[in-house]
Amino acid sequence: MTKRSKKRHSLHRWHRYLGLFAGLFTLWITLSGIVLNHSAELAFDQQYASSNWALTDDSIEASSIIAYKSANQWISQLNDRIYMDTQEITVNNSPLIGAANFQQMQVVATTDSLWLFNNSGQLIEQIDWSLMLPANPTRLGITQGKRLAMQVSNDWYSTDETMLSWQPISQQQVRIVQPTQPPQIITQQLLDAYNGKSTTYEQLLLNLHTGRIFGEYGAYLTDLIALILATLAISGFTIWLRRWQ
């Protein structure tokens, strides 16, 4: 066998083995990709995978709950979800910094927004802090006059019942609202509510498509398959070119 034909034989062999190896994964990636393309039509973005095996990194534990007792209701945050008792009232990534009942409303403060809900969990208004305060606040408090107050750096500001304007006040007038651990029964109901709604079928498919369902290194496996497919395209073209010549 000449040196040239040895080289050609070797390229053929590598092309064949890489093709066989990548073939199985290609089926997995293409099928999951096709379904993902139509996930909205199939409503996969609104249906939740409830089996334990589907709940990968997104499932959560009791220690992750941030909760405030506001009048007779619990306002809690689990990851990006905010609950009134066990009812999900909004989705927000910014940390919950306080909640209080004010003027017959549940006032929920996250680091980026002020959320006003009625007592049945219906949103009245969401207001970006940058529209009201000089910077994002860190704590919520109640003044001696039962007004709402927010701490920005070392300063405190309070507002009237319209919550349209905020005025500087002295810290002595403020009782800071502190987070509290909710009762076990609320904690368990929150965890059930969250874990049952943490992974949509679309997310599950996406995890499957990108390889992340296999954990931290799954994405590298998919990268490897992508590189093998790119290599196959090049080796296939080279083989075809040599035959054509």
Partner: protein
């Protein structure tokens, strides 16, 4: 080799990485909209008929019972959120005399469709008015691959024009 591989991966994901972001804070938008002298904010409480009209415009019910705005003369400014595919896009809109003066994407949170933030898209809205059926009176060219984000911006522009009509500042249209 590792460096080139990383660079390649970064380039591949660049579109989605660069799409997300805060482009202007709502406060800066309002300040700029009123040349550094913004009026005090006001609110519109949404009655049931108003909520029904908003739902017709948006294609889903409006989340909230009141809407905050800023008004002076014949101009009103609005900071509204509308979901593109999964996450809210924060959009600033200024209406002058019943016409759109400015549409700005303040925060974009989705991984796809961020092209709506470019002036080449948002400038199309300038001078658009609301027709009787609550549609815009001029066509808006879409962006391939950003259909849902385009739709969210259009709906928000319509919403701001309709809400402007509900404010006392719409009575100053002749100014």
């Amino acid at each position: 080799m590792k460096r080139w591989f990383t660079l390649g991966l970064l380039l591949l994901s660049a579109t989605s990485l660069f799409a997300k972001g805060v482009y202007q804070t709502p406060e800066a938008f309002i300040q700029e909209g009123f040349q550094g002298e913004p009026p005090a904010p006001k609110v519109i409480w949404l009655s049931q008929p108003l909520k029904e009209t908003l739902a017709n415009i948006l294609g889903h019910s409006y989340r909230g019972l009141r809407v905050r705005y800023w008004g002076k003369g014949n101009r009103t400014a609005w900071v509204l959120n509308e979901i593109g595919k999964e996450k809210p896009i924060t959009i600033g809109v200024i209406v002058r005399a019943g016409q759109l003066e400015q549409v700005t994407i303040l925060t974009f949170r989705e991984s796809r469709g961020g092209e709506v933030r470019y002036p080449s898209f948002t400038d199309q809205f300038i001078n658009a008015k609301l027709k009787n059926d609550h549609d815009l009176d001029k066509p808006i060219d879409g962006i391939s691959g950003a259909t849902l984000s385009v739709r969210a911006v259009e709906k928000t522009a319509q919403l701001a024009l309709f809400l402007h009509q509900q404010t006392p500042f719409s009575n100053d249209e002749a100014q």
